[in-house]
Amino acid sequence: MDRNKISKWLKGPAKMGHKYSLSAIYFCTGCGIIEVPPVITARWDAERFGVIPVASPRQANLFLITGYVSLKTLKAIIRTYEQMPDPKYVVGFGSCPINGGMYWDSYNTIKHLDKYIPVDGWIAGCMPRPEAIFIGVTHLWTLIDKDMAKGYVKYREKYESYRKNQEQILGKLEWKPLYPIRRRK
């Protein structure tokens, strides 16, 4: 640990805690999940970056959207995202969540994921190599350091428009709004 890091720890321990302890929720959202087992096991060992998979969204703070997002998966993704405790980061993995990728003209996949939940960073590619996840993680560290990974704040502030987009594509949602919706006059 260098001296620079120690001063950062003293200044903001919580931020450094969020930075170096990312619990990724192990939730198969698409075909990209096939890249995750080599990343977390002995070959590429994500644990040395502090990234560890957890089984429950309640314990997670990093959500990897791996691959294409169909309508049914979107529903599960939104519910999982809303269950995660508050400083939470979303990373889109692969080109499908960015702009549809090879499913650009499909009738039941989502083209732009960031219309429905806020996304803090993207890893492009089809499929990205496991090393790309580590580059993504180090970029996320930089974003957290500079207070730029504020997707969860954005979700709280612009919840009405996100909810409107979600209802537009999924029809009526069967769960209550996470934040109170202010009615405009």
């Binding site: 919580a14 644990e47 502090g50 429950s56 309640r58 314990q59 703070n61 400083p87």
Partner: protein, 299 residues
């Protein structure tokens, strides 16, 4: 003056236990990584996790949810005070082995109350497994404790440690105690809840069982409780069989050696199913403990 020293001891001992427990958790992750031929996290990783958990927003599921986790943590802390650590043993004179036997049940009970209140089916499966496992290891554990009580004619841990300090370690002093010590070592992973017996918190089957609904600060309390559990299981073994120690460093080395041997088992073995665990626990360890008890009674 003596009063003040006693109070200071009562405050300091859980802190020492916590530091040792967190150190052991970090060491466990590091050594497991090296056994898997990977680099592994830094040794401070559990501490970093804990800092993060304390800053996150925790989600409560009602009064019992909050109460149960505090109950289990209180149970662990009280249990720490009853087990002598080197010369520091604030409550060991008043309790003895019987109290330890009772208090060991409070921790799983508190977690059961707490996670039962969350209403998650995975949590209830985890709890039922935990209690079945407790049923499995309590039988040999009680036999072991009885053997020790009988052969030293004492209920007090301090007396037992003192006798061992004057003579030899109990695990090599006689055949029945050797059998008992081996039996205790065989059930130690079940008491600590590590790998061959981690069906309680299996992340792949029941999404980490009782702790599925914990988040933020609750998870931090839970990992503190886990650190204390590690400390309790290991110090009890060291005090009962490896003769305790008056020297802090020697005591710590003994804890470390027992823990690392357990860790090797943890790193290479797959998980038991619950009925396999019961079959194992009521098999060889119980027979060894029973043989030790009968031999002690005869001799």
């Amino acid at each position: 003056m003596i009063m003040i020293i006693e109070v200071v001891k009562i405050i300091v001992l859980p802190l020492i236990a916590l530091i040792i427990g967190i150190f052991l958790m970090g060491l466990a992750r590091m050594i497991t990584a090296r056994i898997h031929w990977r680099y592994g996290p830094p040794i401070t990783q559990p501490l970093i996790d804990m800092v993060k958990f304390f800053d996150q927003r925790g989600i409560s599921h009602g009064f019992i949810f909050d109460f149960g986790i505090i109950l289990s943590l209180a149970g662990s802390i009280v249990l720490v005070l009853f087990i002598p650590f080197c010369k520091i043993a604030p409550l060991s004179n008043s309790g003895g082995l019987l109290v330890i036997l009772y208090l060991m049940l409070i921790t799983p009970l508190g977690i059961a109350l707490s996670s039962g209140a969350s209403g998650n089916p995975n949590a209830s499966i985890g709890i039922s497994r935990k209690f079945m496992l407790a049923l499995g290891y309590e039988v040999p554990f009680i036999l072991i404790i009885l053997t020790i009580m009988k052969s030293y004619n004492s209920l007090s841990l301090i007396d037992i440690v003192n006798v061992q300090q004057a003579g030899t370690w109990s695990i090599i002093s006689s055949l029945p105690l050797f059998l008992t010590g081996v039996a205790y070592f065989l059930i130690l992973p079940a008491i600590l809840g590590v790998r061959p017996f981690d069906m309680t918190t299996a992340p792949q089957e029941i999404s980490s069982g009782p702790k599925v609904e914990y988040s933020g600060k609750y998870l931090a309390l839970l990992s503190i409780e886990h650190a204390l559990t590690l400390y309790i299981g290991l110090t009890l073994f060291v005090n009962l069989f490896l003769g305790g120690s008056a020297n802090f460093i020697l005591f710590f080395i003994k804890i470390l050696i027992v823990f690392i041997i357990g860790l090797f088992i943890n790193a290479v073995f797959p998980r038991f199913r619950i009925e396999q665990a019961l079959k194992y626990l009521w098999g060889i360890p119980t027979l060894l403990a029973l043989a030790g008890l009968i031999l002690t009674m005869i001799i």
